[in-house]
């Protein structure tokens, strides 16, 4: 089925929307992986004396920030793709 969720006869979402959603989700997933790998590398390669600030609350906050950031990247990607299509 090409279109989903018809509202009052108008098409609410179609295959292009789902394709853009897929690209946005993929980029957001890549952002999560990149940030987590970077964070893990930073923790693993830093000397212990420079990691005194890394407490469990700080790690938890960083993880939540990474989740938020991936969501922002996801929606920003979708916004850019929709903007490019309208140019």
């Amino acid at each position: 089925m090409l279109a989903r969720g018809k509202l009052g006869g108008a098409v609410a979402e179609d295959e292009r929307d789902r394709a853009i959603d897929a690209v946005g989700g993929s980029v957001g997933h890549g952002a999560i992986v990149l940030c987590l790998v970077g964070f893990a590398v930073m923790l693993g390669l830093s000397p212990p004396q420079r990691l005194t600030w890394v407490t469990p609350p700080v790690v938890a906050t960083r993880m939540l920030f990474i989740l938020l950031w991936s969501g922002i990247v996801d929606y920003a990607t979708r916004g850019v793709l929709y903007w490019r299509d309208r140019r």
Binding site: G9, D14, E15, A19, R84, D85, R86
Partner: protein, 70 residues
């Protein structure tokens, strides 16, 4: 979406059918007007099903609507 090597004549064929609007063509094919806009700007490559639906809505063969151009 990035530019696609699939070119089309949707705009010309639409105009030839008594000024069929993008909205009407989209409704006939089950897609949004924005998708028709993206197709005409050749910024989006349709799925095979959508390509056939567009050709049928325009009353022509699929080869008359779309062509591959490297």
């Amino acid at each position: 979406m990035s530019p696609t090597p699939i070119r089309n004549h949707i705009r010309r064929l639409r105009d030839a059918r008594d000024g069929l609007t993008q909205e009407a063509l989209g409704a006939a094919c089950g897609v949004t007007r924005q998708t028709i806009i993206a197709l005409e700007a050749e910024r989006y490559a349709p799925s095979l099903e959508l390509a056939f639906r567009i050709a049928r809505a325009l009353g022509v063969g699929i080869d008359d609507v779309f062509r591959w151009e490297e």
